[in-house]
Every structure is written in C-alpha cells, then in structure tokens.
C-alpha cells in the first residue's frame, strides 16, 4: 500500500542517511543491491522481466 502523496525516491534514501551507524549499513546494503542488479542486468536477467512474487 502506498501513501497518497509521492514521497520522492531521493527523499526516501536521504532518511537512511540520518540514521547513524544503522543508517549507514542500510545505505551500504542499498548500494550493494544496486550493484548486484547492474551485474544481473549485465547477464541479461533484468529484474524488470522477472515477475515479482
């Protein structure tokens, strides 16, 4: 379920930045998942093509 206003993607990421050590870990994981996604795209398995569970 989404909010009735657009929270803004950049605005959401920024909130993890304020979260101290835990926030930094979330940022790290966030970028790691992006790297993994780029690698997957490189192997021709775009997440866009995968049906979401």
């Amino acid at each position: 379920m989404l909010s009735y206003i657009d929270p803004g993607a950049g605005s959401m990421i920024l909130q993890a930045l304020a979260g101290g050590v835990a926030g930094a870990m979330v940022m790290g994981k966030l970028y790691w998942s992006r790297i993994k996604r780029v690698l997957r795209v490189g192997r021709g398995k775009s997440p866009v093509d995968e049906p979401r569970a």
Binding site: A9, G10, M25, V26
Partner: protein, 477 residues
Amino acid sequence: MVEASRRSTSLAPEPGSFRDWDGRVFGGDGRILRALSPDGFADWEALAASRLFERFRESGELVETAPARDEVLLEVQALDPEGGWIAVLDHERLPYVSYPYEWSFSMLRDAAALQLRLLSAALEEDLMLKDATPYNVQWRGAQPVFVDVGSFERARDGEPWPGYRQFCMLYLFPLMLQAYKGVAFQPWLRGSLEGIDPGTFRALFGRRDAVRPGMLRHVFLHASLERRYAHRAAEVRSDLQEAGFDRRMIAASVAGMTSLLAKLRPSERDSTWQDYDTTCSYDERETAAKEAFVRRAVGLQRRQLVWDLGCNEGRYSRIAAENADFVVAIDSDDAVVDALYRSLSAEGNRVILPLVVDLANPSPPLGWAGVERRSLVGRGRPDLTLCLALVHHLSISRNVPLREVVRWLRELDSEVVVELPHRGDPMVQRLLGSKREHAHPDYNRGSFEDALRSLFRVVDSLELASGTRTLYHAAPA
C-alpha cells in the same frame, strides 16, 4: 422538519479536502465532519487508542475529535453515496481559518515543530504521519492546533516517512529562505501552494552556502538524489525495505530536524513599522483618548469576530479582545506580526490570531478549481472592523482612492472604527512629500466624510486633541 431539511442541504464537502481518498471533510451549520473509508477508520481507531491522542488533545494541540452519531453518518452517506464512507468524526470548529502564506516566520516554525513532535510521538506508538503540510495546522489564538487526524496511519515496517519531502517543501525550505537569504516566504507560498521543490530551492544557493546548518543534507544532497532517482520510488522503497530500513532512522532524522528548526532565526532587516508605536508622533493624552474611543465601541456589545486592520504591535487588538470571542490582527509587515505573535505566544493567548496580509492585495481564492483555499473575506466576515492609522497608507502610499477604501470597508458588512489622519497630519505630509505637488486631491476630510456617510451611519466620532486626526465609529447603512 424544515430545520432538518435545511440542515442536510447546507452540509457540503470542504473544497480543500479531496487529496486523500481515505477521508473527506464536510462542513456546514457550524459543523466540521470527517468521513472515513474502511482503511481510514482502522487508522482512526489506532489513533484513538493511543496515548498521544489523549495527550495532544488535552494540551489543545490536536483538534477536539469524537465519533459522530449514527444519523450523521447516514446524512453524509446520503450526501455522497459514492464516497464509500463507513464512519464519521465530529470536529471542533476553530474560529478563523488561515493559511501558511499569511503566517509570520515564528508561526511557520512553531507549526513545523508541532508537526515533528506529533511524528515523534506517533513513531513511539507504531503510528505514522502520512504527510506534512502546514495546511493541516490552524490556530487557537497564538496556539498551533493540528486539525487533520486523518494524517495518522498505522506504520508499516521498513518504510521511510512519506511526508519528509513535503515537510522540506512547505516548512523547512520557506524558513531557510527567510533565515539564510532574508527573503520573505509568504509571497512564494502564496504563488506555489505545493511549496518549493528541492531542485528549485537548490538553484537559489551557491556552494559556499553548503556550510549553513541543514543545507548540505536537506538541500544539496536532497536535490541531487532527487535528480538521480527520479521516478524510481517503487524500486527504492522495496530496496530500502530489503536493506533493513527501520523506524529508528526516522526518529533520528526527526531529532536532527527539530534541532535545526531551533537554530533558524528570521534574518535581521529594517522594518518600517517595528518601532512605530514608540517613534510615532502621538502624545500620551492622545493615545489615551484613542484607546477610550475604541474601548467604548468595543464595549457596546460582545462580538464573535473582530478584525484589526493595520494592527501593528496589537494594542487595539488587545482592547478588542476584552469583549470579543476572537480577534484577527492583520498587518502587512511580517516583522511586526512576528513580534506580536511571539508576545502573544509567550502569554499563552488563545483569542488573538496575528496574520501577515497586504490589504491592498488580500489573499484571493486559490488552488484547484479556484476554490481550494478561500479568500480572506470568504473565510468569515467580522462583526466589527478596526481600521486605525491605515487609511492614509492605503490611499497615499498605495494609491487606492479614498472612496474605494470606504467602499471596500462597506463590503465587509461590519461595523467599523476608522481613523482618518487629515491632510495636515505630519504623517500624511510625510507620505505626500514623496509625491508631486497637489497629489491625491481626493485625500481630504470632506470627501472621506461624504463617502463614509453615503455608505455608513456614523454612530460616534472624535477629533483628537492634535486636531489632525478624527476617529469614527460607523455601522453599515
């Protein structure tokens, strides 16, 4: 029966409440009702059971709210059968609605602080605020009151605060604009009801500004992340959830913003009117006579709503408040209004609402379909209007013909206490001094009195001892 049918026809959806599909406000006959969808109702039940609901209601910072009777739900369902409403809440009605583009710096900052305190209390009880708009805050005198109980929802794990971007656009950036650049935020908020977006706000600042408190994160980084991740909200949301984002990060962010707000001060600038009362030419005897005249007009009967136009430091607003339920104190100078607000707030005043409005250009109806935000007059007419030491400014500085000023006052359809400084008054001479010779030939006591008597019945008048100013108490003819 007649009364019942009249009732049902006058209840109507509030034009400013349509964005959130889980609730809709209806108003009429002095009632403010909030209809709720099934999801909205579940959120309301969670809020009603929380400790924060009781605490903030008791302090007066959350609007009085109670479930409405069953027949009210039927009335709303009959009025809006497609709405899918399953419950209705009954709200307290606040005396006068105002908008953030009419607030002074400290008012917007106090409203922002209330918004953050509510969010912080909500997070502790597994609740969330789904938005962050100052249009959800109204005033009981100098006390901010959060009026949108529909903003509270049950929190969902792993989700950031959806209102953060809106908080920046409508609270934080306007305050920073005034604090860091000395630029008034009111004209901007009036022009852009959604506020100032991060990219636009970033464009106003140079790299050196990055050292100011809050700029690097909330403005520079915000604008750059927004550009980079445009239209990828859904993707970022699920990534954050997987990466283990949790509510404590929102709490940390709220704590940071709360201390940032406390650091923001309106920039020092010259205000023409700030010390008007101490530097202007009245002597004490004359001030006492003027006060007595106003007090007599105010004392004739109790009024529900008084407007004090050109209120300055609020001396006459306070006199009006002696015998009125509510006073709206209006001035175009934001520094003057801010000083008045701060003193009223320190006193815990609940009767006088100070607003920044240029009366030569009062707030028009704005927003969707031109009805979402109402005009100054459209939000409630006064029973009595004070218009002291103002007419010459409208007429000479702003070139509004004297007759037009009187006609505008008549349109308010209220009694007036109006002061006319004569052409020979030192202040009038000063204003005329910057115009060519024989400017404003219509500005004289004779034409003012003709205009006044053609539209009003003069109840009382008094020429002040200096012989250069006259006060009139008049009722609509």
